[in-house]
Symmetry: C2
Subunit: 350 residues, 2 copies
């Protein structure tokens, strides 16, 4: 790897920006992480289930940082109908996000069975809206745990792809070699996003450490290697969606820590650091990390999948130029970023 | 199951009582949990590696609660020689505990390779000292994680048993169906302890909850079922060692929570509650939970293995008689017990 990369501005195809004071605190960090596009998750409280709510939310985010392009996705919910899909398309909304009920942060309004949504998926396929899948089956304390929740969801992904072969589907935040294989087994309309933190974390990291706990949980060394290989050999099938998920420091303490790793301010930096570590570990080869790959994974491939114009801004990534801040503070909120206090790459905008 | 059981006083064959203020706070809770025998772990700072240190530690515990029988085990360390084994036997020390280096709380002085200890094991075999094994291979971030650390250790258990067939070995705090099978594959000199909390916890419980995080970590529903079946079908091969591990509440917050679940004050109560839940779930049958099993698992089988006299005190366990306290407080220490605030069984001493 080189010590400096000059790349097109990145695009982050899975972010949680929250609302109110938290949004005020974290939205300005998108550009710090090298991204100018943010694909914004709809799991507010209440969830973003209408076009009007999505447009109003987008406007609030634009007021915080107008230099970022916000792509909106609705929360899949019984109130979403084929008519809503058409309306969403007209309003420039990019997709609809499915959360299985109860799986992660603010997913209590989520999906239990997909079949009632088949007419919606049909309309999405026709209109060209993207289906964003949180690909986990809810834990049932009998057979499904956080460890096999993603693998158990994969037949559903493949079934949806068979039923709606032209529907563009994103399996979000893939965490297992099985998920990678399932996405690869599908046609061109199915892709996967990979987070920065899952390129470096293992189950051992979130054992006893709430700051590294997220859903889906990080898994085994073989799974991490599968993600790294998927990324570098992707050719567009996998690209970055950080799933940056800010929680106030208070929600990360105590006996029920909120799930989510906050990576927004160092999105590209974490990816480069994870790639360096993976080379050192032997999971990938130095020659795997080409500029073509970095341009693609960090933005171009996602832009192409979503039909977004190429960037005309550039970022310069330099090795070892920065130390990750202890926390990001806002009005009554404080968020600790992943790997706080550690040295990392720097990002400069040209 | 019945609503009331009158049983011989229990014996807890794996406890962490710490020292100083923490020992003052938690030692008086042994009897509350129904036990009159406590097999005391040696991982103090510095670890208990000499007979003199073990006897002095035992005396400190006796000063706190003289009504409990404390069985002592040394910390396996390069300073332990065959001569120390003989001295330990004469001093009434029961065993020697092996911690693989770096695996859990205060294990930094632990074992890296077993071969240098073969003369010690030979002496233990001859003298009749018990080898207590923390059966995990240290995580290496390549192939070994907290999930397969125990399974990866099992060949070592079987190798030690082959080399020292008369050496009594306890595989402590078994957490997997694989561990149960490995213990069963060995002869009568090899047994396993099972904690109260591993009879109910799953990986999902410690995901984001430091109070349920311990080493070895709780694993899958199939593993939990394996432990429950091992317990009820044990006939002496498996018995209770709670691995109650108190940590001050401050050590359970933040990004690096200490490993350990505190169960001492409700040792028997948690076991009964876990058995009730397992019956309801269908993991075991109601008729599996006989009085003979309860007497054996909670004390008799362990006493027999260690050659301890039977109890002449009785405890009465009653269903639903108590609520688990929010915390146990001492001089500058506060420990939150497992399932604090939940209803549980009561224990009365006859």
């Amino acid at each position: 790897m080189k010590d400096t990369y000059t790349l097109p501005a990145a695009a982050d195809f899975h972010v949680h920006l929250r609302d109110g004071a938290m949004a005020e605190a974290v939205t300005p960090t998108i550009r710090q992480g090298g991204a100018e596009v943010a694909y914004v998750m709809p799991n507010l409280v209440p969830p973003v289930t209408t076009v009007a709510a999505a447009l109003a939310y987008k406007e609030r985010l634009q007021n915080i940082d107008p230099s970022v392009t916000y792509l909106m996705t609705l929360y899949l919910h019984e109130s979403i109908t084929p008519e809503v899909v058409k309306e969403a398309k007209k309003a420039g909304i990019s997709g609809i996000k499915s959360y299985p009920a109860g799986v992660t942060t603010n997913s209590s309004s989520g999906v239990i069975s997909y079949e009632p949504f088949f007419p919606v998926f049909k309309a999405m396929e026709e209109e060209g809206l993207v289906l964003n899948l949180h690909g986990e089956v809810p834990s049932d304390r009998k057979g499904i745990t956080v460890l096999n929740a993603e693998a158990s969801f994969l037949p559903t992904l493949q079934d949806l792809h068979r039923r709606f072969p032209k529907l563009r589907i994103v399996l979000e935040h893939c965490t297992t070699a099985d998920a990678v294989a399932a996405v690869r087994s599908c046609g061109d309309t199915v892709v996967g996003t990979i987070t920065a933190h899952h390129l470096s974390l293992l189950v051992d990291d979130w054992a006893g450490n709430a700051l590294c706990f997220c859903k889906p949980v990080a898994k085994t060394p073989a799974d991490r290697r599968g993600l790294l290989e998927a990324a570098v050999n992707s050719r567009g099938k996998f690209f970055l969606g950080t799933d940056s998920a800010p929680h106030d420091v208070s929600a990360k303490k105590g006996s029920k820590a909120a799930a989510g790793v906050f990576t927004q301010p160092y999105a590209c930096q974490y990816v480069l650091a994870a790639l360096e570590d993976a080379i050192e570990r032997g999971d990938i080869k130095d020659e795997d990390v080409t500029e073509e790959f970095l341009r693609g994974f960090l933005g171009e491939w996602g832009r192409k999948f979503y039909g977004i114009a190429e960037s005309n801004r550039k970022i310069v990534l330099k090795k070892g130029g920065e130390v990750i801040v202890e926390s990001i503070k806002g009005a009554g909120v404080e968020v600790i970023p992943f790997r706080s206090g550690e040295p990392t790459w720097s990002v400069e905008w040209q």
